[in-house]
Symmetry: C2
């Protein structure tokens, strides 16, 4: 069977109208599907209300013990259950999961080098068998960006990486598509021109665009995750706008397609 | 197979040392098992930090829209994921569930009569088949006190009732024990004497104790749930201290046993 692994970012999570539209589109997809959602900015707001300071380094959240409690509660509770409820209300039989649930995404706490990211996880294994058992019951897993380390407990995890790892694990036994939905129409040649979508990226032009500074900053880890998925056997990897989800799944003709050739 | 449905209340949730001790005992139980947890006082504290007022009527929380967001986040995220992580760290392969997840506990929003409880759910159905599919994979479901109404979304639900409903649903195909763990050694003859445990309650002496004012207040809905479970075919229903969990499961000789005769 084909499995679509779809990631939505914080900008969709943070905008209720966009989120409801996305959920309607996602629910109408016919193939088996998995959703991985980002955290959104709400964790920062709730942390502030709880008098917990948000520390960022190069756009990444430092997850100390109080912040771990916030992201667990917000990503794993508030955001995840909101998405699951909305999917159920759209006829999609969803189940919310963190990495700890059924031990489905195991990770190790990132070793401290120059920066101590705190309780941040690097994924070690995905329990594809458990995910398959849900898909076989027509249940749609919805992952919060949280993984689990048996030694250190719940860990904050990058949702792009989590989506890539889930797609890779399932690709051993299934045809898998991985769709990254974000706020742009695709990877852009010119960040100021929304219509300058690069239709296809392969390792060769990716390296060139990076060297030329066309592709930079947060786009690089996202694309590294995308290329890792293709290299590991994921069938189709696409980066597109949330609104293009159906087009991307049905035709592959949306946003930027990532391939090895 | 025998399935033990075990409920822990807020007083265990609110005390980290008690919770860790309970989790260790629970994890060591050999039969298949299900945990239903209460909310604890932390929702009230977090609501206050978020400037959301807690309104109680007769000890019950009024769940308006802002409070629903808090209990979803706190019960479904903070408490549930904390318990699941701790169980995983004790070798128990747990999965956290709200009623919305896989549509496992469906409810209807309580009709407004004298009091508008807001987003509070009265359970209509439990998907025993899905719970069985988890138990068959040696996965332990951990329920937050949240049910789901397809029309109104997530609903705050009494954990005692939820435990009773889950036990009843499973008793159709299994031998089920239902153990309510709370802060006392059992149902007491004298609230001021911790050792005055009533060893056995049946409908006859229950009515008498109620008429005499020996059993009153919050104990009554708890016992009504317990009797409803026995009447529906649950094998053994026991109300005991959290520390007596193993004794209750293994011998039935702990706390107060509820029976029809």
């Amino acid at each position: 069977m084909t499995v679509n692994v779809i990631k939505i970012g914080g900008n969709v999570i943070d905008n209720e109208a966009k989120l409801q539209k996305f959920i309607k589109n996602f629910s109408s997809l016919k193939d088996r599907k998995i959703l991985v959602h980002g955290g959104g900015k709400i964790a920062t707001k709730i942390a502030a209300d709880l008098h917990i300071e948000t520390k960022m380094v190069d756009g990444r959240r430092i997850t100390d013990e109080p912040m771990r409690e916030v992201v667990t509660m917000v990503y794993g509770g508030k955001v995840n259950k909101h998405v699951v409820s909305a999917l159920q209300q759209n006829g999609c039989n969803a189940i919310g999961l963190s990495g700890a649930d059924a031990g489905v995404i195991l990770a190790q706490k990132r070793p401290v080098k120059e920066i101590d990211y705190g309780f941040v996880g690097d994924i070690k294994s995905v329990n594809a068998g458990f995910i398959e058992s849900l898909l076989n019951q027509n249940i749609t897993p919805v992952f919060a960006p949280l993984s689990f380390d048996p030694e250190h407990g719940m860990l904050n995890t990058n949702a792009d990486t989590q989506a890539s790892e889930v797609a890779r694990a399932l690709s051993e036994n299934h045809e898998v598509n991985l769709i990254y939905c974000f706020e742009k129409k695709g990877v852009l040649l010119n960040a100021d021109d929304d219509d300058s979508v690069i239709p296809k990226l392969n390792p060769e032009n990716y390296e060139k665009y990076k060297a030329d500074g066309v592709i930079y900053a947060g786009m690089i880890p996202k694309l590294d995750n995308a290329f890792a998925a293709v290299a590991a056997g994921v069938n189709k990897v696409i980066i597109c706008e949330a609104d293009q989800l159906q087009l991307a799944v049905e035709t592959g003709e949306a946003g930027t397609a990532i391939s090895l050739t």
